[in-house]
Symmetry: C2
Subunit: 248 residues, 2 copies
């Protein structure tokens, strides 16, 4: 549970350091991510980042000549964070593991929502970035397919019935995840952490997408794990309602 | 089949007329939709629309004082087109009807992709538009839920197993549809009509999403109907492969 609720900032700083940024460049990149998330990449000029950090525009452009260089630097960090979040040392084998893993994935995507919410803006005219995104997306989809195939081996998921397949399922999950990020942007543009209710919304839609692929017991366990981690008060309420009242 | 391939332009003109636009205002609005679709709302200034239409900026601002007024006018047309596309006089009862209906929906969404692809940009700071979009979205989701409930009555779909429900399914379909529009923008920003292969991509992902909700025979019929309407050459190939070769 600790990993689920760990502070966004410390994780970002850690990644910024390991991605090769320290000192002023690190501060610039991390603050840019926050401003991009809040206002959208298109709406944040270099001067605004400098004034927000109380440094001169010259100091900023000394480290990052153009806004594009700064965007690139934020994407270095995003790439590393998402790789860490998606790739696990041990495969998910229980509903509890799955729920914890997915919540961590949702939070990480949320921390870098500026990128996904500006996907068309960033990729349409940048062939190189489009290629990198396509590669990253393929890599992520491969992991998702492998995860679900492993869950079939364990007897938690049904095998796909052709011509349906786990690739299509994974692409639909990806689309749903990005749609959720967009709704988050529209509904709470200035949130600095996602409320558990928002994470539960992503979890519930993903659960619905996978529901009929899962064996009934695993589907129930996964939903209960999400509820226990994200809305324990609701779970308590449900349990209370279902428990016969002795005082009646 | 005629309705599936009918010209985009004539339909837009028809709607523009019925939405109360004629003459120069109609020309301005229709050309704006094309330019917004191609370059994104954010990247098309009022002056560019005027110069594209070979009219003076003053002529344009005589009809639409600010860019916001012009955007509003495009949304009037979008709203009417989408209402017509989503609402049918007769409920979908066969796989063939369903495929034709959905293809028409995909094409209509595609014709107004600028709106969905700029959703965060348009809605984040505009409370009124956010409210209108939420109402429109609710209305569309209600139609989707009613459609699927009717397909349950007809025995083509399974009834939902709680806590999964057709609301979640419809929201996931909506998210998938909007994700597809974004990919279309990234991959072919300047396309003026969607290739059938692109429409089939949307159809296949929607089919995958609904697959396990459908009774097997209906699932097969729906996929075959999509293939016959969108990629008849592929269907012919599949049939050819499956037909034993007498010449061997």
């Amino acid at each position: 549970m600790a990993s689920v609720t760990k502070s966004k900032k410390s994780a970002s700083v850690k990644t910024a350091t390991s991605a090769g940024y320290a000192g002023t460049p690190q501060r610039i990149v991390l603050r840019s991510i926050e401003l991009f998330n809040r206002h959208g990449i298109q709406n944040v000029a270099i001067d605004r980042i400098a004034s927000d950090l109380k440094i001169s525009p010259g100091n900023l452009t000394y480290h990052f000549k153009r806004k594009d260089d700064l965007i690139r630097a934020t994407l270095d960090i995003l790439k590393e964070r998402l790789r860490v979040a998606l790739q696990r040392p041990v495969a998910v084998s229980s509903a509890q593991d799955g729920a914890e893993y997915l919540i961590q994935v949702f939070r990480t995507f949320w921390d870098f929502r500026f990128f996904f919410n500006s996907l068309a803006y960033l990729l349409t005219d940048d062939r190189q970035l489009r290629k990198e995104y396509a590669q990253f997306n393929q890599w992520a989809l491969d992991i998702m397919v492998a995860d679900v195939e492993f869950l079939v081996e364990l007897g938690h998921f049904r095998a796909p019935v052709e011509p349906n397949n786990f690739r299509l399922l994974s692409e639909n999950i990806w689309g749903q995840l990005l749609h959720w990020l967009r709704l988050q942007q529209i509904e709470s543009p200035s949130a600095s952490t996602p409320p558990n209710a928002a994470i539960y919304d992503a979890a519930l839609h993903l659960w619905s997408l996978c529901h009929l692929w899962m064996k009934p017991a695993f589907a129930t366990e996964l939903l209960r794990a999400f509820q226990a981690l994200l809305i324990p008060e609701r779970l308590a309420k449900t349990v209370a309602i279902r428990t016969p009242r002795k005082d009646r």
